[in-house]
Subunit: 673 residues, 2 copies
């Protein structure tokens, strides 16, 4: 392709864009891995976006009212790193660019939000960024409604590729953005017609323009290498009352021998071809070298928003101190001071009243107390509001006509919900929670993993957490889902036994700053087991002695959630036979693992057989507590599931699968020989 | 709603449809749970479909050339059970209808394919059925191309609800069906505008007609209570050269007090309202009672296809005996006799040549041998063909112009691929396999679980299976994904150590009938560890002694996949220090668990410390083998991951995370004290 016409039409633009292309080629050459084609294809779009539209101040990358830029096509990470370095981001220095994809570098293979400022979200798994962006845009709406346009008024820009649009979750995102008229969400589609396996049409012939329009978007089609067209499209997008998709026709790996081919998608490292591409750009500089005038021009772009930001700070100072404090507190994921007192009061009340609630109902009762205090929560459900018990009356429904609404009807979109919740948490100022059936962890899973990796405190409210849901049968009965979430690093899995533990779990979930929480809640009613009020949050210890053995301790029963009551029943039977039995409630294995060893040994001392009870597979992290990490700690057994469930009333299922006090007693006696 | 006009316009139709509605009401009343609204709303559509279009013979529900009917909106299971009972399915008797959702009944809460004939797939998790259907329709095309229209020529019908269409996976299915011009796929959308949380538009305003058209579908809009319109639409759909979506405007819970409301979605059990609905239908019969004339009319529909079926059998008898045998063998999931010999030859060759291949490359070499023999395989990849090594030259690409093609470019659609592969396996005659990166197990997960629940042998080829993939970083590095698949009942997780074990794993995956397989394969090269040829498939034992200790056995190293070579290196170091060390390769924990206890004890005898080595979290089923099921079996330790990975070259990551021979040696010595 002869680039002369492009170069000469707008040389100043061209040189700035060429800097991105050259840095991309150099970094990937040095790393000998990476994805060259996308940054080279989208450099023009990104340059115009940063130069003329994106509201940001490189010296203050965390300015709350900045526009957000999300690289949904995360494999093109060198586009983002180039932009950050060129505009003067304090973290992404030239040294980082040179260390692209190397141990300890902030410039990881795919952008990781927790490594450097200016990286709004972690992308790479396709479709996530565009779905996060829905949450970013919703968060902006909610915050603007609360704090006013003078404090919150910014756009969310996304670069998405063909892969993002083929992933099913993108449809969930597109539907949500269209329904909620998220007019400040602007998606730039890198329409290059290339995927790894070939041209897009070997796998898809969807008319993307028609598809977005069908869900209520404005669509603008442009040549993605024409700066004036890019500028005009962005201007038009910003004034729409709908979300906008700008279809940018681009050439992947522009100017390289691999242009417009699948090969161009990956790492272009051949030195001669690299030089030829640079020649075509008119880029006559050494590796990683950006001439001073070009760098100055980019740094001026990075400083463009400084005045805006200073003015914003002045405006922010004018809102009430209470509002300022609330705003800052929410951004810092600090729980309000009143929270723990309110939780304590509720705990005291229910330990006295001892209701027999399903823990999903317990959770609703906690939310009734919590939501008026923790004003930054935004709740919702994937079309199971009445079953997940996630809505409280004070929240209001989030809709175009009610941007103050704090409850979102996500529709039948577990994955989109989870990804958008992540986006809200990443945006800042919002603590999102959302519900579905625990079995549909499967649908939400890609986003749940990313919440853990990204170190954000998204809360997943997972009800109907075992065969205890009964007749809906094995498609709806989780057996391996506790194991799935527990196997995931940096995830708190709470399985509370009653309302007291549910309140404690929520207190932790609403106070933590860098860890997502999964609340595993029952459909079926449970007795209150925490009948003695304790001020202290015992769930924060992960596990604790709920009931001490009466005689000589011969057995320890360890149980979670709905099975704690079974453990208590088994204990009574065992004690009646003279077998001293301790019951340990273990609502959060991860927090127990974080306790000092001395505490863990006090809770689980040697010298007694141990039986774990959980209506799920043993693989869910049990053996560490049953057998000890190095083994030989105790003789132990497990009462739980080793197959899928079945469709029948819940009580019959517990009997069928042998999750009963009787089976527990038999197991203990067997172990005691 | 006054149903008089509907009743009088076509009384014969009406009565047949009313039988479905009445049985639905009665069964849900008896069970006191279930979903009434959908069967009541879609009874007219289903009646016309079964009466006038669906090719089936109730007395031979497994006739290979029957039309397939898939209830994607699986919560409306009483629609399917009513149809099966009324038409005379041998399994779904009136007794089963009366036992709806009870222990042991074939009429589970959601339809389960393995319980009764006539249930083509397990549905309930929304979006799965419509995505399975893409695989059913592809399987029909592949088989028709191979066996000719006289043997294979049938349609795939789907009833899908708003939930199915909101789930992201539906977009993947729609895109695939449109691209591949699956003209024999006909989706009947139950357009009732109601979800559990309210009207559809609280969450979505997508123009579904425009959305389907954008992906190349024919769309027909009809009144779903008008039999003539339903009939005409189905006729038109059958003659299209595109897949067809028929948008059926219906009233959920037609004729009931809860009609057109969210309440109508669930269990309608109020006796007075039930009676009022039956009155409105003109249905004056006792609970579960279907008058003889109505039942006769339905049974005649069930017998309608008998002659067709007999003629088909005659046509089938005319194809060559070889073809007949192949057809039957593939339907029975029987591996061809030649397979094991071919695998043995390959094993012998590679144990001599000892290549240093990544196991993804090993897998490709196995497929080169296998695909010409196992002619029923259909392979593919979610846009990672060159990385997953899933394509062999003989397969041809499946496209409208090449229906004999056995390789599918699924696009960036892991979930849709997995669900469609399940559909192919369920259709019969096809053994599907498909690849993606192992980390994207997360995306495919809902369908992977269903493969296990449905007892079908879908093969998931998961490459890039650890931090060994290097620079792409933690978004792409699985650490918990072995644990996820191992925690799932009825799933074989193979993590082969070299080409020999890869060949053995494939042999099992291609021979098994009721269990899906996950092949966990490396990106990085590995040495051949099985250097002594054994005819026997050692992987079939799950674990075996790869190398015996030379001196007195003090340690057993248990490893999988890429870490077996590390175990061998550690063994050499330990033996050099006089510590007799056995190495156990454990390519499939599930198969090891199925061996007799005596074998397991021979492989893992007491009296030695044990160290497990796997570049993944310990939660992945390890403790059973390290510590013993009841504990106290051995002192043990684990070398693996306990956090997410990082972006850097693979060797550096193994060192950083301490997965090395040196660390293994240190752990053994520590345990030996």
């Amino acid at each position: 392709m002869d680039l002369t016409a492009l170069r000469t039409a707008n040389p100043e633009h061209w040189t700035k864009a060429a800097a991105i292309r050259a840095l991309t080629l150099d970094a990937i050459h040095a790393a000998n891995s990476g994805h060259s084609g996308m940054p080279m294809g989208m450099a023009d779009v990104a340059t115009v976006l940063y130069e003329k539209h994106l509201k940001f101040d490189a010296s203050a990358p965390n300015w709350p009212d900045r526009d957000r830029f999300i690289l949904s096509a995360g494999h093109g990470s060198m586009l983002l790193y180039s932009l950050l370095y060129l505009t003067g981001n304090p973290d992404i220095t030239l040294e980082q660019i040179k260390n692209f994809r190397q141990m300890g570098a902030l410039t990881a293979g795919h952008p990781e939000n927790f490594l450097a400022s200016g990286i709004e979200t972690t992308t790479g798994p396709l479709g996530q960024g565009i779905s996060n962006a829905v949450g970013f845009a919703m968060a902006e709406e909610v915050q603007r409604a609360r704090y006013g346009k003078k404090v919150v008024d910014h756009y969310t820009y996304v670069i998405a590729g063909d892969g993002c649009l083929m992933e099913g979750v993108s449809q969930e995102a597109i539907g949500l953005a269209g329904r909620h008229e998220l007019s400040k969400l602007i998606v730039l589609w890198d329409n290059n017609n290339i995927t790894i396996d070939g041209t897009v049409d070997i796998a898809d012939r969807t008319d993307q323009v028609a598809r977005f329009k069908a869900s209520g978007w404005q669509v603008i089609e442009i040549d993605g290498h024409n700066p004036a067209a890019i500028d005009a499209a962005l201007t038009k997008a910003k004034s729409s009352n709908k979300p906008t998709m700008i279809a940018c026709k681009t050439h992947i790996a522009l100017g390289h021998a691999a242009q417009d081919t699948s090969k161009g998608h990956g790492a272009l490292t051949d030195p001669d071809q690299l030089k030829a591409a640079k020649d075509a750009y008119g880029w006559d500089h050494g590796a990683f070298e950006v001439p001073a005038d070009v760098l100055d021009a980019w740094r001026a772009i990075g400083a463009r928003g400084s005045a805006d930001r200073v003015e914003w700070e002045e405006r922010f100072a004018q809102i009430s101190e209470r509002k300022q404090g609330e705003f800052r507190r929410a951004y810092a994921f600090e729980a309000p001071k009143k929270l723990s007192g309110a939780i304590r009061s509720l705990k005291k009340q229910v330990s006295e009243e001892q209701p027999k609630w399903a823990t999903r109902k317990s959770s609703e009762e906690v939310l009734k107390v919590v939501n008026p205090i923790v004003t930054e929560t935004v709740g919702g459900s994937a079309d199971l509001t009445g079953s997940n018990n996630t809505k409280t009356d004070d929240m209001g429904i989030f809709l175009p006509e009610n941007r103050k609404g704090r409850y979102i009807h996500w529709g039948i979109r577990e994955h989109g919900m989870a990804a958008a919740m992540n986006g809200m948490a990443l945006h800042g100022g919002i603590r999102p929670y959302g519900g579905t059936f625990m079995c549909f962890t499967d649908y939400a899973r890609p986003a749940m993993r990313l919440a853990a990796l990204m170190k954000i405190p998204t809360v997943f409210v997972m009800t109907h957490d075992s065969i205890g849901l009964g007749e809906d049968g094995p498609t709806h009965q989780p057996v391996e889902h506790l194991a799935i979430s527990r196997a995931t690093p940096n995830t708190y899995v709470f399985r509370p036994a009653d309302t007291v533990e549910t309140a404690e779990a929520w207190e932790i979930a609403l106070s933590t700053k860098e860890t997502p929480s999964v609340l595993s809640l029952t459909r079926q009613g449970l007795p209150t087991v925490r009948t003695q009020h304790k001020t202290k949050n015992l769930t924060a210890q992960g596990a604790y002695v709920l009931a001490e053995g009466e005689g000589k301790r011969q057995a320890i029963l360890i149980a979670t959630g709905s099975e704690v009551a079974i453990a208590m029943e088994a204990k009574a039977k065992l004690e009646a036979e003279g077998i001293g039995t301790r019951v340990v409630s273990m609502p959060c294995m991860e927090l127990f693992a974080q306790q000092e060893e001395a505490y863990r040994k006090r809770v689980l001392p040697a010298g007694a057989v141990r039986v774990g009870i959980e209506a799920a597979v043993r693989d869910g992290g049990w053996d560490r507590w049953l057998l000890g990490e190095r083994g030989r700690e105790a003789k132990a057994g497990f009462i739980g599931m080793s197959s899928f469930g079945a469709s029948a009333p819940a009580d019959e299922l517990y009997a069928k699968f042998g999750i009963t006090a009787e089976a527990t007693v038999a197991k203990v006696k067997d172990l005691l020989g």
